[in-house]
Subunit: 149 residues, 2 copies
């Protein structure tokens, strides 16, 4: 099934997740005072969890593609499906709370949120949404495969 | 399978969703100026979508329990699983952005968010989280059943 662990589609999804979550972390943490707002700290934490997870699974995919031996142990697939599901929920939560806070900052307090800073927060949230979307696809595919085994 | 359409577990889940989303809508909209913040308007909109959806499916469950004929058409189950999944994502997004905004309101602007008002916003978000949790369970069960058919 395309997108399941050990396929090239899965590798692309994992690389996309790692890329977008790194971008989100970069825009939120470099040169921005993210620690003033708990929603931003939460986003940084979650993106810091998604990056190693996606990167590890990308390495597993590469290994699996090289030895041409796809994984089909239900135990491992269950762990991956649950991990993907939890991380996709957490990324969505982080992205949404960031968007809510940025929207409020733009509305009520123009001086505290210079256009450049607000733009970075918004970019970071957009990248987190993209990362969530790719994680949700991975989770869906793995869950579907697990249920049909 | 317990929790799938036409079982008593599904009926309890639907009633729980309708109850918690109504409570969330009530705490957010009655006597509170929710229209000042876009995150709160979003929560009200989404809860206004979840209530009729859960209520309709609760009626279908009751009908199905009375005639003792569970639904197993893949088409209908697909629509219900996708609808549940979309609504659970939207509820989670609404709850998280509300929490983010309330947290910021408490932090930066004590005067605009009287303790009583903030408490109501937080209660509303908590009810939205509970509604999300039950919708996610329904979605998961229906998806699992659909994949294993």
């Amino acid at each position: 099934m395309p997108g399941s662990l050990g396929t090239s589609a899965s590798l692309s999804l994992r690389l996309g997740q790692a890329l977008f979550s790194s971008a989100s972390l970069f825009f939120m943490s470099v040169g921005v005072e993210f620690y003033s707002y708990s929603a931003f700290c939460y986003l940084v934490t979650i993106m810091g969890l998604v990056i190693p997870w996606s990167f590890t699974l990308a390495i597993v995919d590469v290994y699996s593609l090289f030895v041409e031996c796809p994984f089909h142990q239900p135990g491992i697939m269950m762990i991956i499906a649950v991990g993907d599901w939890v991380l996709s929920m957490l990324s969505l939560a982080a992205a949404c709370s960031t968007v809510g806070v940025v929207d409020l900052l733009v509305d009520i307090d123009g001086s505290n949120c210079a256009p450049k800073l607000c733009g970075r927060y918004q970019l970071s949230a957009a990248m987190a949404f993209l990362s969530w979307f790719l994680t949700a696809i991975s989770s869906f595919v793995n869950l579907w495969l697990l249920a049909s085994l």
